[in-house]
Amino acid sequence: MTRGHRIAALTLCAFGGMAAAALAQEPLEPVRQFAAAEAALEEMKYRHLWLAYGAIWLLLMALVVRTAKRQAALANDLQALSSRVEEMERTHD
């Protein structure tokens, strides 16, 4: 498992955890039904808030994955170019 895969797996775990936390809201007591209905209405009003949260975390996750991918590609390039330089310097000598 590469570093990029590990980072992506951990980030996915974070998303899973957040979704679980959101779903694991405790049911409200019957005496607070009116308040619960109001809260549900208010939550519906602020749907864009949850969408924004999701979009922001997706943006950050995309940044992590993109950086990890670029980093892995650069590490490969670095290794290949280093050995090539060594080889060229040997033939020059």
């Binding site: 936390a21 940044l63 950086t67």
Partner: protein, 227 residues
Amino acid sequence: MNLRLALIALCTIGVIAGHWLAFDFAPIEARMGVIQKIFYFHVPSAMACYAGFIACCVGSLAYLWSRKGRWDALALAGAELGLIFGLIVLVTGPLWARPAWGVWWKWEPRLTSMALLVLMFAAYWVLHTFGGAGEGVRRFAAALAVFATPNIYFVHVAVEKWKGMHPELEDKAGSGLSPDMRIAFFVSMAALMLLFALLFEQRYRMHLHARLVGALRRRIHRLGGDV
């Protein structure tokens, strides 16, 4: 287990805990309602934005002083993350402002100075990324970052100095967050700052490696090889 993985795990736990505390543990604010929850993400993002821009300034000063590429890489990593978190601040702010003020945007001191700060560092990033590989461009970009950074102070004191509409975390009378809100806020802040630190280290290392790859390519070219 290495330190980096341990920090990633800690950050993940912190982010999950921060969200649970913000949405389930902390009470709903009496006047603003659910929309106030954005504050647990908006303020830490602003702090991460400041940290990124300050890192950019430190890196730029050190680069102007020493001309060493690693400081330039550090400055660029700071500017990138400052911009990303700054954009998050500029997106989450209007999401709160629409229900709270009735408008998406208001040209009040905190918002205007924050937008200017982000635009200045956007100029740094554009110049650095698309201005070519010459050292003159890097020096010019570094000077721009040094001059843009003091604007952080103006953003920070804007509400107090120019009496804007933007809410403050604590007022002079000592009212502000309830203890439960305070816990949620500080956990969110710690998690996001740790995320910032991890991303910063990752971007810095990436820019360093990119410079090394460039240097090796130039060396191969000098030795007569194709790259």
